[in-house]
């Protein structure tokens, strides 16, 4: 149904729709303003008192917005938002209308009237509520909003529900308008529909209809068809009833005529007006139609002619289309038309071409000037002919033989260009190929010669010129034989024969002769040349000067052989790895390295990697990857596991082989089994380490030695077997005064001032200890050194030893010497001292002896001379008392007794003293004596003392000891005597004599002999006085005694090397201990030990 629409009308209707929506919006706004600002005129438009309620105004606003947004469905920007907003607004209005209607119908209260504005109380003309819109408005809004919602719907036939709804609303609105128009007063009384509302509703509903002009009523109105024009013409006739009605109302209102007449009249008027309108319309339409028909007739006729012409044209066109590629462009080059062939060859579809500029086919093959020249021509109205290379859609190029024909306007200016093309791609290709071939032939360095079956040359390329030296002119038409060396002339016949048979001679190597007579090796291929009927008409020969090649090959072979030999001798495996396939070619030695005795059929990087020792695999792989990515040399060492399982070290080195393009496609390299080398290296490293360690140790030792040598006070000199000094330490220099100097041995003594101990005779060189040591004898000697460098002569003590190497061969000698000057001096002094001492000793001894002798004489005389007078005193006084005692008074007797006592005591004292003195001179006569017997004897001796007393003797075991028996006897006499004496008050007196073993060690254990009594004892306070001469701890009248006894005992015990001590308690008794034998010091220890032991025993 695509009758063209009058665009002007379309536009007009569209504007009306816009205007209607705007009108609605403004009414709504003014209404709301009126309510807000209480300007009632906005809402009544003078048709008081019915007011447009607030809801109505709001609804108008909303639907107005909705229509505005929906009016133009061509505008694409924000279409979706517009649509949603519009539909939302319409929906709101729909809800309002629906709810209002419901309120009206069912009397419910939703508060719709209150939701926008509170209606003023003045509103009287309320049906249900003041703010509620009239049911008509509600219904109208319902319809309009629904229409807006479904504005784009439409049935197949073209009916649009939107139109129906809006027309319905319009009709309802018209009701209001008409009633107001007819009589405003009645209008006010009868209706609750405000004027603004009805007007706006009517306008709006029309607007909705006009909004869509594609289909339905809107479309109809715009159409240029019969129906459209009819609709446009007759629609105004709808106002006839309105007019008549108004007239009728006016007449009725005047009341001039009766109802019946008015009706008749109005009907009549209506009838006539309508008939008139229809008739006018029909006439007009008919006229138009008749014109139309005439036009159509003429048109048909012309169209018949046209059709025929067109048919012819079409046929021609068709024919053209079969042959040619056709395209029509406008003056700008925009493609207007393309035919099927065009599409076929360019691979674009019609849609893709039409509207595009012809430039899309530009292949870039032609220069800018080429196209400029073309355009220039056709712009001038000239036909242009040429060959163009275009690019198809897929990028492929095709050649077309093009004729561009400009279609000229009447003024001679082109209006269109038609391009007719023929596909000459193939032809072009052939041409190109031929050219190419010709160029190839010509540019080839090989000689390409063509000859006929008789061997006459008929083609000669530049390469042939180069190879044979002849120019084309010189050989054309000449036989081929001119190139042959004489001995090979027969080859030509053979060749020609084979050619005639249709065979080709390929890679035939032979010798030919150049123009300059030089012989060249050539390799030629000769093929038969056939004409179009496949008959052989000649031969074409391609010959290459392979002299150089042959030479190069020979050189290569040689070089290859050398290379192989070099690699094999060096035991290097040779390999090449294709980087694309990762397969490798290699020499046999390579496989051998991996343990294979016969080469593997194939080898790849993976196979190689499998042989790599697991620990090394990752490293090798990474290294390989990085070498490939960086394009650097591949140089590595790793461990491999050979076929036989043995682990070996290999070194491989490879480098990229680059194609001329720079791509690395290949890595070639060598591999070597370096296990031995590695082992050697390891060993060497170890050795080096060892060496370093030894060196360090040596250094340390050497340093140590050096410092030792430097620090020792002994001079150390080492000389080799020739007598040259190898070592001369600082001490040596210090002692001798000079350092090492290159002096032959025979001059040593002289140079250094070495003398014999007598200090005047030079030391005989041949006796020099160092020299003797060098000769192999170790020896010592004392020397005296005196030279100008020394302040004083020094005595040295030397000791020399030979130095032998490990084979025992004398390699020199070492001499160590010490400065003994001081020692010598000391020795001398000691000797002097000794002599002095001895002299003194002798003197002393003499003195001592003299003293002893004196003492001897003294004691001797004492023993005699002192005693005698004592005896006399005693004797005479005794005689006195005996013979004259009776005549003496008792007192006198007593005195005499005292005299006798005195003499006795003195006699005792003298004896004791004498014995004490004698002890000093006396030497011990040691004998092993049984002490027990001695003790028993002593006790026996002392028997008189024991008379009349009760005495308990406890004599324990007493060992035999080595002692001087008589002296020990004295000791016992003394001690036991004392015991007896001091225990006199006791009854019984207990006297114990025994021995205590003291000391851990039996052989060191010395017996401690004791004498214990239970007598009066003494206080330990005075113990230190016990053994003093003449010291007594008791009064003489209590206990007699000289006070010498214990001193004597001590002297005796000390002479024996023992100790004597006592322990006592006052009134409890005393114990005297003594030991015999041992040194003084140990005796002291013994005493202490003994005391301790005894104390321990006693506790």
């Amino acid at each position: 149904m695509e009758t063209s629409a009058d665009i002007g009308l379309v536009k007009r209707l569209g504007s009306f729709a816009s205007a209607a929506s705007l009108f609605s919006i403004s009414v709504g706004l003014s209404g709301l303003a009126g309510w807000t600002l209480h300007i009632s005129s906005f809402n009544t438009w003078g048709a008081a008192p019915v007011m447009m309620v607030a809801n109505t105004a709001a609804c108008f606003l909303l639907i107005g917005i909705s229509l505005w947004l929906l009016r133009n469905n061509r505008n694409q920007s924000f279409a979706w938002i517009k649509k949603v907003t519009a539909k939302t607004a319409a929906a709101i209005v729909f809800m309002v209308g629906f709810l209002s209607l419901v309120e009206h119908v069912f009397g419910l209260d939703f508060g719709i009237d209150q939701w926008l504005l509170v209606a003023p109380a003045a509103q009287q003309n309320a049906t249900v509520r003041p703010g509620l819109m009239s049911p008509i408005s509600a219904g109208a809004f319902l319809a309009l909003s629904l229409a807006l919602l479904v504005i784009d719907w439409g049935t197949r036939r073209g009916t649009r529900p939107a139109e129906v709804l809006s027309l319905a609303a319009g009709a309802a609105a018209s009701f209001g308008i008409l009633s107001f128009a007819f009589d405003p007063k009645i209008y006010a009384a009868h209706l609750s529909l405000a004027l603004p509302t009805s007007v706006t509703l009517a306008v709006f509903s029309l607007g909705v209809v006009c909004a869509r002009t594609e289909r339905g009523l809107g479309a109809l109105l715009c159409r240029q068809s019969l129906g459209g024009s009819l609709a446009r013409r007759l629609l105004p006739a709808a106002f006839i009833p309105v007019l008549v009605g108004w007239i009728r109302w006016q007449i009725t209102a005047t009341g001039l005529y009766s109802e019946w007449s008015v009706v008749i009249l109005s009907s009549l008027v209506t009838m006539s007006l309508l008939a008139g309108a229809v008739g006018w319309a029909a006439v007009v339409v008919d006229r138009n139609d008749a014109e139309q028909r005439k036009l159509e007739e003429a048109l048909k006729e012309t169209s018949g002619i046209n059709a025929r012409t067109l048919k012819d044209l079409a046929d021609q066109r068709f024919a053209l289309d079969q042959h040619a590629i056709v395209a029509i462009t406008d003056v700008q080059g925009t493609i207007i038309y393309v035919n099927q062939k065009f599409c076929a060859i360019s691979q674009y579809s019609k849609q893709e071409l039409i509207g595009q500029n012809h430039r899309i086919l530009n292949s870039g093959h032609h220069s800018r000037e080429f196209f400029q020249q073309m355009y220039h021509a056709i712009a001038n109205g000239e036909v242009w002919r040429g060959e163009i290379c275009n690019r198809a859609k897929d990028g492929s190029l095709y050649w077309v033989d093009t004729t561009v024909v400009p279609f000229l306007e009447s003024d001679g200016k082109p209006r269109q260009y038609m391009a007719i093309r023929a596909d000459i791609t193939e032809r072009k290709r052939v041409e190109e190929m031929r050219e190419h071939l010709a160029a190839v032939v010509d540019s080839s360095d090989d000689a390409i010669i063509s000859k006929d079956l008789n061997g006459i040359i008929n083609a000669w390329n530049r390469g042939a010129e180069k190879v044979f030296g002849y120019s084309a002119a010189e050989v054309m038409g000449k036989p081929m034989l001119m190139l042959f060396p004489p001995e090979r002339a027969n080859e030509e016949a053979d060749i020609l024969a084979r050619i005639r048979r249709g065979e080709s001679v390929e890679h035939f190597e032979t010798v030919r002769v150049r123009k300059d007579g030089a012989r060249i090796d050539i390799s030629s291929t000769i093929s038969p040349v056939k004409d179009s009927s496949s008959a052989i008409v000649g031969a074409s020969k391609i010959a290459r000067d392979i002299t150089a090649r042959n030479r190069a090959e020979a050189a290569l072979r040689q070089s290859d052989a050398r290379r192989k030999f070099a690699l094999e001798t060096a035991k290097l495996g040779d390999w090449g790895l294709n980087l694309t396939t990762l397969q490798a070619t290699r020499s046999f030695l390579h496989d051998e390295i991996f343990g294979y005795h016969s080469p593997l059929p194939e080898w790849s990087f993976d196979i190689f990697l499998r042989h790599v020792y697991p620990d090394d695999r990752e490293r090798v792989r990474e290294d390989f990857q990085s070498c490939i990515s960086q394009g650097r040399k591949w140089d590595f060492e790793c461990r491999i596991t050979r076929l036989d399982g043995e682990t070996r070290w290999i070194w491989a080195c490879g480098n990229h082989y680059r194609e001329p393009s720079g791509d690395a496609t290949y890595i070639f390299g060598i591999v070597e089994d370096i296990t031995e080398r590695k082992q050697a290296e390891a060993a060497r490293t170890l050795q080096t380490e060892e060496l370093q360690r030894s060196e360090r140790a040596l250094e340390t030792q050497s340093l140590m030695l050096q410092s030792v040598l430097n620090s020792i006070s002994e001079g150390l000199v080492v000389a080799d077997e020739t007598g040259k000094f190898l070592l001369w330490n600082p001490a040596a220099t210090r002692i001798v005064g000079r350092g090492a100097e290159n002096i032959p041995p025979e001059h040593w003594s002289e140079h250094y001032g070495v003398y014999l101990p007598d200090t005047v005779t030079l030391f005989p060189p041949e006796q020099n200890p160092l020299l003797l040591a060098i000769q192999g004898r170790a020896c010592t000697a004392e020397m005296y050194v005196r030279n100008t460098k020394l302040d004083a002569g020094v005595w040295i003590e030397t000791s020399a030893n030979p130095l032998q190497d490990k084979d025992g061969i004398a390699r020199g000698g070492v001499i160590a010497f010490r400065d003994i000057t001081q020692r010598k001096k000391d020795e001398q002094e000691i000797r002097n001292l000794n002599e002095e001492l001895e002299a003194r000793v002798v003197e002393r001894t003499a003195q001592l002896q003299a003293a002893n002798q004196e003492l001897e004489a003294f004691t001797y005389s004492v023993s005699h001379d002192l005693r005698a007078p004592l005896r006399h005193i005693s004797g005479f006084s005794k005689i006195l008392s005996e013979e004259y005692g009776s005549s003496l008074p008792p007192e006198a007797q007593h005195h005499l007794q005292r005299i006798q006592d005195g003499t006795r005591r003195m006699g005792q004292l003298v004896d004791d003293l004498l014995s004490l003195a004698r002890l000093g001179r006396r030497d011990l006569i040691l004998r092993t004596a049984g002490l027990k017997s001695t003790v028993d004897e002593v006790i026996e001796e002392l028997a008189p003392e024991c008379a009349g007393r009760r005495i308990e003797w406890k004599v324990g075991e007493l060992h035999d000891v080595e002692c001087d028996p008589s002296l020990i006897r004295q000791v016992f006499q003394n001690l036991i005597g004392n015991a007896l004496k001091y225990s006199r008050p006791r009854s019984p007196a207990v006297i114990e004599i025994g021995q205590i073993e003291v000391g851990q060690n039996q052989e060191n254990g010395r017996p401690v002999i004791f004498v214990r009594d239970n007598g009066v004892g003494f206080s330990m306070k005075y113990a230190n006085k016990l053994f003093g001469v003449f010291q007594r701890l008791h009064r003489a009248e209590d206990f007699e005694g000289t006070g010498v006894g214990l001193a004597t005992a001590q002297r005796i015990v000390q002479k024996h090397g023992g100790r004597i001590w006592a322990e006592a308690q006052l009134d409890k008794g005393a114990t005297f201990y003594f030991t015999l034998g041992g040194s003084f010091a140990s005796s002291e220890k013994e005493e202490l030990e003994a005391r301790a032991a005894i104390a321990g025993e006693q506790t």
């Binding site: 001797y860 023993s863 005699h864 001379d865 005896r871 005693s874 005689i879």
Partner: protein, 159 residues
Amino acid sequence: MTERPIEILLVEDNPDDVELTLHTLRKENLANHIRVVRDGEEALEFLLPDSTQDERSLESLKLILMDLKLPKVDGMEVLRRIKADERTKNIPVVILTSSKEERDLVKGYGLGVNSYIQKPVDFDQFRETIKTVGLYWLVINQVLVCEAPSQTAAKGTVA
């Protein structure tokens, strides 16, 4: 000249000692036949006269009590002479001295002294000692009577 036969010869230089000794001997009735000489020379003259005319009979001499410390000729010397001489060597010699020196003992016994007595200081003891000694040598001990040479010669003819 004939004398009473001397039984004891006392060689002592100290007069007190002489008196004490004699007193004691007398008390014990041993002092009848005592000859006292005051030094060594006299002792030697008595015992070993140079001339035969001073020769006397020593047959009755039973004991020589000798002190050591004597003027002129020392006791030891006298002892030596006595013991060296045939005429006197058999006569018991008892050294009676204050000294108990070992030296003297050694020498004495070396010379062949028959007994060595130390004179006690205490008179009682002294008395006891003298009594014992005297008793022993004079009463208990048997002496070897030596004839005078002339008598010996005279007796020689008797078989």
